[in-house]
Subunit: 358 residues, 2 copies
């Protein structure tokens, strides 16, 4: 078994009897080359099945045509959808993706970013796993173009894009209020992650509009696992004054919640309404079909990548900083079957709540 050695621009030059500079000119079209030589070079490249070494090129040009992508949990179906969007936009623009999964672990995230830096990616797309600014610093200190996506750490001034989570929380809660719910519990995920914080703010706003208090015992936080959802669900259902609706800010937690409901023989939506986040091919097939806020995950990925590429171009051109406003994409309330008016005797009093549009 012979050791592999790809052929180089030298080999092509030799076969075409031209200089390497000429071959390079043909490849990149930077300088005009006579038709005769162009053909010789093209033929030689063909004959040798030559493909320029990306590594060497990167070293010389200082651009790797690669972007780093950091996600906290690939197995959360929200992210694969995002990744597809990223892949699409990146490939169209000639960028490759170097992938890192942080497993929701800041330390692993740090290592990942360190690697991306060492690999000299042209930019990074970051869905971070906590909101301290270490992540931010690591990248920003080096002026590496970066876009924060979905989860946005506090105090970051880089381009960022996410769902309009405040509005999503608002719309979701209003839906429950309109159905007549007053005892609304919330499973709030990790309150050090911006999406959850924002969704809860929207929730609070809607409750305030409706003149309803947010009871402490109805406000639950925890990790983003299915188990957390299960435990919290059990607890909520055993409350002497049980909520008639539960708003859950995370998709995995939602699953645990549904499990708890099923196990406790509590009927949904007859006894308790459930409203959650995200959409999977299978949300449809749950029993009951789940009413959820659907995020534009694919678009988030695509546009985030476009922003990143633009940011890369911007820094190349040495132009000053641009808009520091985050891009917020609209989510959609998808009403299915897990939300309904509260049980008899508990509804009615306030079916229509007056409020203004956002």
């Amino acid at each position: 078994m012979r050791r592999r050695k790809s052929c180089t621009i030298q080999d092509v030059a030799r076969l075409a009897t031209v200089s390497v500079a000429t071959v390079s000119a043909v490849i990149n079209g930077t300088v005009p080359v006579s038709p005769a030589r162009t053909k010789r070079v093209r033929d030689a490249m063909e004959a040798l099945d030559y493909h320029p070494d990306h590594v060497a090129r990167s070293l010389k040009t200082g651009k790797t045509q690669a972007i780093g992508m950091v996600v906290p949990d690939v197995t959360n179906p929200f992210y694969p959808e995002v990744i597809r969007g990223v892949e699409q936009a990146a490939e169209r623009a000639g960028y490759s993706i170097i992938f890192c999964n942080s497993n929701e672990d800041p330390e692993q995230e740090r290592r990942g970013l360190q690697t991306l830096i060492a690999r000299r990616v042209d930019g990074a797309l970051i869905a971070c796993c906590d909101n301290t600014s270490t992540t931010y610093d690591l990248v920003m200190r080096r002026n590496i173009p970066a876009v924060f996506l979905d989860r946005i750490p506090a105090g970051v001034n880089a381009p960022r894009i996410s769902t309009d989570n405040f509005k999503a929380g608002l719309v979701a809660t209003r839906h429950l209020l309109e159905l007549g719910h007053e005892r609304i519990a919330v499973v709030a995920g990790r309150m050090n992650l911006s999406p959850h914080v924002d969704r809860i703010e929207g929730f609070r706003k809607a409750m305030q509009e409706a003149g309803l208090p947010v009871k402490d015992e109805y406000f639950c936080t925890g990790s983003l696992s299915s188990d957390t959802g299960y435990v919290i669900g059990k607890r909520l259902l055993e409350l002497e004054c049980r909520p008639t609706a539960i708003f859950c800010t995370n998709n995995k937690t939602l699953l645990g919640l549904v499990r708890a409901l099923g196990e406790s023989q509590v009927k949904c939506p007859e006894e308790v309404s459930i409203l959650g986040f995200d959409d999977f091919a299978w949300t449809e097939n749950f029993h009951p079909k789940l009413t959820t806020i659907v995020q534009p995950a694919h678009e988030l990925g695509r546009r985030g990548t476009e922003m990143l590429i633009q940011e890369i171009k911007r820094q190349e051109g040495d132009v000053g900083p641009v808009s520091s406003e985050p891009i917020l994409l609209e989510a959609q309330l998808c009403i299915r079957q897990s939300t309904a008016p509260p049980p008899n005797g508990e509804a009615g009093l306030r079916t229509q709540v007056g409020y203004s549009t956002v």
Copy 2:
């Protein structure tokens, strides 16, 4: 905004007043360096926040410490699980992942592989999207270490790893037979993908053992989409002689199938049993909970990566080819609630089928 320029080994050498060779020696530990100088170098690296340029290093050493990963569809929850395994094993061994999604499109797959080759990845982990050998050739012609994972194109001689799909099909079908089913339909996915082919072979074997024919009208193939499952499901349920059980070789198709069942008001498992593939956090929450064959996705990714790294080492050492047997991992039949004996009057005759273990 100043253009970013990371500091180089030269800068470190200058600050530490040693040669670049010495700095390199300290970094790589290839050659002993006196304690005094070691400290000076370390301090300088620290002071400058120096991190070696991976690109330059790759150019010189000919190793990128990167592996390419090609998957046909990130949004199929099977793959994120695999990816997590890959990520874990790769990061542990100091490899980065360059990610390509082929979208089940051979042309996009080709482009992806071409990119990986140009980027000089040390190896590639491929879950291909068709079984022609173009993929194979592209990579193999260059002696690039590769491991084929999950889907294995015909005639490939490289290391490969997948679930033992034949056995999975066998076990799944026997489960249905044991319950007393005789009219078993199969939704067979795309028959140019090895997992489906193998699962169907297992199915046929079990049917043959039981002395049952495989009726043409019970044998359905199509794309891997949920819609295909839906259409096929509808068709099967409208058959004058409706099957009492359906074995589905793909997870997305399974979803469509369940949807068709629900829509047609056909009760599962009372009227029709359903058996499918793969496990997601939410399989549990379906109604009914789905009996599936669960693949060791994470382990597939982890071990596949380990095999790849070993293969990389092997080719470095110029040792001859190794075992050409594929590694087959055992899947697990997870019996939940979507399989039950066939409706009254159609069961009974043959509840216990004699067969030997594999």
